[in-house]
């Protein structure tokens, strides 16, 4: 009797499994296949290959080379440019987002959103050439600054130097800050400021006790995203520097193109993996904080 039930149970269970599979997983298959093949697979393979020596044995030597000169300087410069460009853009961007979101009408807000999107995303190469024209030795902006008493080129300045890149990066970092920080501003409810005022708080108290504590996590999160964006930027730096400023993305690009030869074939992969780790240290907290604040940001 029991065995009979068991025998009938198996195909039933299989059918139930099929039904549940169709219902719960099947529609996700196209997405998972494409995403898996075009994203997860290359990343997994990158990590795997970064641990292989030239004759395909397991080794850590790629990573050992990756943290020595000249790659160490590359990482330090890249991290520095990420930190500085984020630090420069974060506060002005947040302030601009605040005034635009709280005081602008909807047309203005949408226009700014679109313009920020264009600047933050399609930047790259055109941006580099634009600054070459504006802030180059012959550029009009250079002349204006000189007229105002600030001679950019009196020292060692060039657009391909650290400071030069920092100026150009801020041109896409600031719009990026406006884009990513605006949702946090939108979710600051007017009722809270009114409630605080009714309870006798002045503007200063409101900001110290309510506004800043509420916005601070989002502000830090967005700054982290800006860091990741500055840290991994490639196009602008590639167009402006002429090998005078070691940055990790450029070093990887050089190894990939075969312009730079290295004794270790898989060194570029190890550099890529270290970049992923550093970038993840910034982006994952960003995503985690965003998710947390999304809870109270829902209306």
């Amino acid at each position: 009797m029991t065995s009979q039930v068991m025998e009938e149970g198996a195909p039933l269970r299989r059918r139930a499994f099929l039904a549940s599979f169709t219902k719960n997983f099947l529609p996700a298959v196209p997405f998972v296949l494409i995403f898996g093949f075009f994203f997860l697979f290359p990343i997994a393979r990158l990590i795997y290959v970064s641990f292989l020596s030239n004759d395909n044995n397991f080794t850590l030597s790629n990573f050992r080379t990756a943290i020595q000169e000249p790659y160490r300087t590359g990482f330090i410069n890249s991290i520095k440019i990420g930190v500085f460009s984020a630090a420069i853009a974060a506060f002005p961007g947040a302030l601009a987002a605040y005034f635009i979101e709280t005081r602008g009408n909807s047309k203005l807000r949408r226009t700014i959103a679109v313009m920020s999107g264009v600047l933050a995303n399609t930047g790259g190469v055109p941006l580099a050439f634009m600054f070459y024209a504006a802030l180059g030795i012959q550029g009009q902006l250079t002349k204006i600054l000189k007229y105002l008493g600030w001679d950019l080129y009196s020292g060692t300045f060039s657009l391909g130097s650290f400071v030069g890149l920092l100026i150009v990066y801020s041109y896409f970092q600031l719009p990026l800050m406006i884009i990513v920080f605006s949702p946090a501003i939108v979710s600051l409810r007017r009722e809270w400021s009114e409630a605080a005022r009714n309870l006798g708080a002045n503007q200063f108290n409101y900001w110290i006790r309510i506004g800043i504590p509420l916005l601070f996590p989002s502000f830090m999160a967005c700054s982290l995203l800006l860091f990741a964006s500055g840290f991994s930027a490639y196009a602008t730096a590639n167009a402006l520097t002429v090998g005078n400023l070691p940055l990790t993305p450029l070093q990887i690009g050089g190894l990939l193109d075969g312009n730079v030869s290295a004794a270790q074939l898989n060194l570029g992969k190890a550099l890529g993996v270290v970049m992923i780790v550093i970038s993840a240290c910034a982006v994952i907290p960003y995503l985690a904080i965003q998710r947390r604040s999304a809870k109270w940001q829902k209306r």
Partner: protein, 259 residues
């Protein structure tokens, strides 16, 4: 009273806009001035723009970048809309996983992704330029996914699809003639975003040794920097004007995800 409030509200906004305007437009105008200089005569003229447009490659690469971006948009919509509709309707257990996966490309620097792509794909994938739209799809995924997700969250999806289904529509028809029109704001935003990102993508394209409009510009710069600057000005200013105009023309109720 109203006037007093306006007086109190406006100065910070006006100051912000003034500073932002200076920040954005001074370098842009300065670069524009540079791009219309004609060193030969010492005056101004459209020489470099004429030169760029009369280059055969100019339209060749614009055309190529445009159709690649079009294919990317198509792939994005074909994959994401059905997947997201299903995720929203079924409350499947894997929703969290797919949400998380869609954000992963944000974590990976594009340079590292390019290295991975170069060492992973079989020949037949690497030999066709059609690999690019799939890779662009991955790069745009975090934004496209979120934009569609917000759109679907803001409508009574279950009611709509049940109504369409009980009126005899199959799933394809439900998605095409009911769901997409209702979330057209999000769909338009997704299209614009994916298209713009694909059109301007440089890092991945150049590291995988493909030529598109942005990589052609750097190639031009080696011989004719003024021509490259003219092209760059066009590729910054034209999308600026078109997108701003489109935003101002589209009525507001179609824009979802913003309050």
């Amino acid at each position: 009273m109203a006037k007093a409030i306006r007086m109190k509200l406006l100065p910070p906004l006006a100051l912000t806009l003034l500073l932002l305007g200076l920040f954005v437009f001074v370098p842009m105008l300065s670069a524009f001035e540079y791009s219309i200089r004609t060193p030969a005569t010492g005056g101004y003229g459209w020489t470099h723009y004429h030169w760029a447009i009369s280059e055969e490659d100019f339209f060749h690469y614009i055309f190529r970048s445009t159709w690649l971006s079009g294919v990317t948009v198509l792939i994005t919509l074909l994959i994401l809309v059905p997947t997201l509709v299903w995720i929203h309707l079924s409350d499947s257990k894997i929703r969290g996983i797919i949400d998380g996966l869609s954000l992963l490309p944000l974590v990976i620097p594009v340079v590292a992704f390019a290295v991975g792509a170069q060492i992973s794909f079989p020949e037949f994938v690497q030999n066709t330029v059609l690999e690019l739209p799939f890779l662009y799809f991955v790069l745009a995924l975090p934004y496209a996914y979120r934009s569609l997700d917000i759109g679907l969250n803001s409508i009574p999806l279950k009611t709509l699809s049940e109504a369409a289904r009980s009126a005899g529509a199959n799933w394809l028809r439900t998605i095409i003639s009911v769901i997409i029109p209702v979330i057209r704001g999000s769909v338009m935003a997704t299209i614009a975003l994916t298209f713009a990102l694909s059109l301007g993508e440089y890092t991945l394209t150049v590291l995988l040794h493909w030529d598109t409009f942005p990589t052609w510009v750097t190639y031009v710069a080696q011989d004719n920097i003024l021509g490259a600057i003219a092209i760059s000005m066009m590729s910054l200013i034209i999308p600026f004007i078109i997108l701003t105009a489109v935003t101002l023309v589209i009525p507001e109720r179609n824009m979802q995800g913003r309050k």
